[in-house]
């Protein structure tokens, strides 16, 4: 999903607020606990949770503090899973209770392939409407495999209530100047890329 959340490489942001003042938002620990409870009770999984944040209305996503995004995802999924109703939540507050919008669908894994450490690979030039863990800045780009992970649930399916097959990810090393030619500080960027997102370069 090409949404606001896919921030890597976006320009126009100012300095990082590296030494922020402590703040006391007492509702933030409450939200953290409610979301942890919902995951523990299997009301939703981590992929559904992440995607529910991503499908917040764009202006809401960018303007909401971190824990307001957690709250919105938790409430949205509790409504979508039939645990509570949007009307019930709205009746409990003075004002509206904005929820995330439905976006999808999901998709199954691609046929299994094997990549080797040191092999040059390409990220498929695919445009996924639903949840995907491929940041836009590596789409269609080439890099080198530096490590293989254990199998993980495929997020593009797991976020959409589909049957989930696990597959490994590959830590792929990209050169920043190949991702953003003439427009980046020189570095190596590593991304944990699901097997289904990759193809051979040969």
């Amino acid at each position: 999903m090409d949404g606001m959340h896919d921030l890597g490489g976006k320009q126009g942001f100012g300095r990082i607020n590296y030494r922020p003042e402590p703040h006391d938002e007492t509702w933030e620990p409450l939200v953290r606990a409610l979301s942890a409870l919902a995951v523990k009770k299997k009301i939703y999984n981590m992929d559904e949770y992440r995607h529910a944040i991503e499908r917040m209305a764009p202006v809401h996503y960018l303007s909401a503090p971190y824990y307001e995004r957690v709250l919105t995802a938790a409430a949205t999924l509790c409504v979508e899973k039939g645990i509570v109703t949007a009307e019930e939540l709205a009746a409990l507050v003075d004002g509206t209770f904005p929820l995330s919008k439905p976006i999808g669908p999901g998709r199954p894994n691609a046929p299994a392939q094997k990549f080797l450490i040191g092999e040059t690979v390409r990220v498929k030039n695919e445009f996924v409407s639903g949840h995907v863990r491929m940041p836009g800045y590596i789409r269609g780009k080439q890099g080198v495999v530096v490590a293989e992970s254990p199998p993980y649930p495929f997020p593009d399916a797991a976020a959409h209530n589909m049957q989930v097959t696990e597959e490994p990810t590959y830590d792929v090393r990209f050169r920043s100047l190949e991702l953003w030619p003439d427009s980046a500080d020189e570095s190596f960027i590593h991304v944990g890329v699901f097997q289904s997102y990759l193809e051979k370069t040969g």
Binding site: L7, Y18, E25, E54, L71, L89, Y137, S176, G192, V193
Partner: protein
């Protein structure tokens, strides 16, 4: 009609919305009494930066442990009694050297190995850090006070799956021979994320 519902159409304060969800989940019998306080007490007491600091101090003082840590982070930290949640299935430990600097980010959200290095600080979850450190790594680090020499290779790690990362900082030479307990005292969360180093590498001011 127009205008009279202006305040009604505004989002309710987040605190009210959080309380509404709490009320609704309690009414359904889903939220057990005491869960919120118990969860947060556990998070604040157990998932602390000191865990990672102890891991680093052990790696500095025990070369066999260091090897196991670099090979399989999750089982090595388990030796010290530190667990990781189900969706953190793998821990990769990234070794800094005098010439290589590793840096962790989650451009898509906020993932960290929070049970090991402690909960992600606000700046790590902010839009600015997520957008900039992959593309403007050296500039962003410099703004945060880490002015790396031009010869230092920067390796950024974007946390996009169930793998979690932590940086193994370079031990400051002045601390050789210290006890693991004393060493753990100098290891910061920033040094395990990679926005600072414990050895002094900042480019000297020319002039």
């Amino acid at each position: 009609m127009t205008g009279s519902h202006a305040t009604q159409s505004q989002p309710a304060p987040a605190a009210q919305r959080a309380a509404a969800l709490e009320t609704a989940l309690t009414a359904r019998g889903i939220l057990p009494p005491g869960f919120v306080d118990e969860f947060n007490d556990h998070a604040e007491e157990q998932w602390v930066t000191r865990n990672g600091a102890q891991v680093v101090a052990r790696a500095w003082t025990d070369s066999a442990f260091r090897e196991r840590l670099l090979k399989n982070g999750k089982s090595a930290v388990a030796e010290l009694g530190f667990g990781m949640p189900e969706h953190h299935r793998h821990l990769v430990v990234l070794e800094n050297t005098p010439d290589i600097h590793n840096l962790i980010v989650c451009t898509l959200c906020s993932c960290t190995a929070y049970t090991i290095i402690g909960a992600a600080p606000d700046w790590y979850k902010d839009l600015e850090y997520r957008a900039r450190v992959v593309r403007e790594s050296r500039t962003a680090l410099k703004e945060m006070g880490l002015d790396l020499p031009a010869s230092t290779e920067i390796r950024v790690w974007d946390t996009t799956a169930d793998t979690r990362y932590m940086v193994l900082p370079v031990q400051p030479p002045a601390t050789y021979g210290w006890s693991p307990e004393k060493l753990a005292d100098i290891v910061t969360q920033e040094s395990m994320i990679g926005t600072s180093r414990l050895d002094d590498v900042n480019t000297p001011v020319k002039g």
